[in-house]
Amino acid sequence: MIPVGRRLELIILASTPSLITAALAIFYLSSKHLSGLGQFMPALPLIPVFYWGLSHSRDMPYWFVFALGLVMDAVMGMPMGLSSLLYMIFLKLLHMQRRFIQKEGFIIKWGYFGALLAVFNVLDAVGLAFFNTGPMDIGMAFLQWLLTVCCYPFFHKLFDALAEHIQSRRWHILHGS
């Protein structure tokens, strides 16, 4: 029987990826008072969704990305449900290729992130074009894609260290003395 304190720690460890994603989403959405940045700000919430969805899929559940998408839609003024749908498609596509990608090196994972993000952006543009009854200018979206892909390695290394810590703490709680 695990003591209550340890059980609480396990819950916190399990929700760390979701909390990090939520924190990055809040940073992404909050006002930064920098002219033009809002239009090509890297899509930070998608980085932890990809990382944790690939390496520890149980820590990035579908209900969380659904809720995250709803918040993004509500705050950004997008059609309600669009980001939720796209986030779930993103996670589903990731899970479909998970067994092939998971054991690959960093470069392959990075490349797959770039490809998946491009699919996400294209679907986003198509969805919005359907809503606004006209084609969308993808110039800023391309810049955002490029910046997000460039940001990925930093977060990947950071999350690698964090995931290792979480795993060791979990093992210690469940199997340690």
């Binding site: 705050v75 003024g77 059609p79 749908l85």
Partner: protein, 276 residues
């Protein structure tokens, strides 16, 4: 590590997997339904949006406060470095303004007596509500932002939003403690405007760029680069005479306008309660 599957695991695991798949399918269906409801303009979708923004707006207000402080510090530093030059300029401006004040008072009296003479119905005065931008301008495809004021503070839908430089947009969604502002650059933004010198009426139309264009201009219109654009007051949503922007290019029938107010840099804004 060898994982032993118990009898319970064989019984419950397929059930759990089935439940998990059904939950994902349900969420996809929910997202799809919401999307269709948004497209149809269903009020439930709008209500869900405003409920979420009411919850998230205070969190965003707290999250954006460090950036607000940094922004204020940057502004303070740049102001300090220009203080001497600014002081000299303000003294000159003050002398000119005093002359204008005398002229304005004379004109005000004249205007008042002419209105009395012609029995002009006085236009109602506008009132202002101050709110703070708490969200960024909304990604590559959207030009909208949230403010931390809503119906509880007296803000109403379709009211014009300005800052010290000029028009920013109008309120499109309203919650109890938050409101969404559709900015001038958004593809769905349409503002009735008039050019200040040539008095050509047109519609300022957003195109998801930083430079909205003037639509429905007469073919004979001759708009010069550098001409100021102000609200015309047509339609009754925007009060007339609010500075909007300046014409930066007029080529091949497309007149681009650079708005005076930069929404990305805006912090405090005023929502105008304008009685038509």
């Amino acid at each position: 590590m060898v994982i032993k599957k118990t009898r319970a695991a064989y019984v419950f695991l397929p059930g759990k997997q089935w439940f998990s798949r059904a939950a994902v399918a349900l969420m996809v269906a929910c997202a799809g339904t919401l999307l269709m409801m948004s497209k149809a303009g269903n009020p439930t979708a709008t209500q869900i949006r405003t409920d979420i923004t009411d919850i998230v707006a205070p969190i965003l207000a707290v999250a954006s406060s460090p950036m607000d402080s940094l922004h204020d510090a940057g502004t303070w530093l740049s102001e300090m470095s220009q203080l001497r030059d600014e002081n000299a300029m303000l003294k000159t401006q003050n002398r000119q303004l005093l002359q204008w004040q005398a002229a304005a008072k004379e004109m005000e009296n004249e205007n008042h007596s002419l209105r009395e003479l012609m029995k002009v119905v006085p236009s109602q005065k506008s009132s202002y509500i101050t709110a703070r931008f708490v969200s960024d301008v909304g990604g590559p495809y959207m030009h909208s932002a949230l403010v931390n004021g809503g119906s509880s503070q007296g803000i109403k839908k379709d009211e014009a939003v300005i800052n010290e430089n000029g028009l920013l947009g109008r309120v499109i969604d309203i919650g109890d403690n938050s409101a969404r502002i559709l900015l001038l650059g958004d593809i769905n933004s349409r503002v009735p405007v008039v050019t200040e010198q040539t008095q050509e009426k047109s519609i300022l139309s957003g195109n998801n760029s930083d430079w909205p264009t003037l639509a429905y201009l007469p073919a004979t219109a001759k708009i010069a680069i550098g001409e100021r654009v102000i609200t015309s007051g047509d339609g009754g949503i925007f009060p007339p005479g609010i500075p909007v922007g300046v014409v930066i290019s007029a080529e091949a029938g497309m007149v681009k306008v650079q708005p005076f107010a930069d929404a990305a840099k805006a912090e405090y804004v005023s929502v105008i309660d304008y009685a038509f």
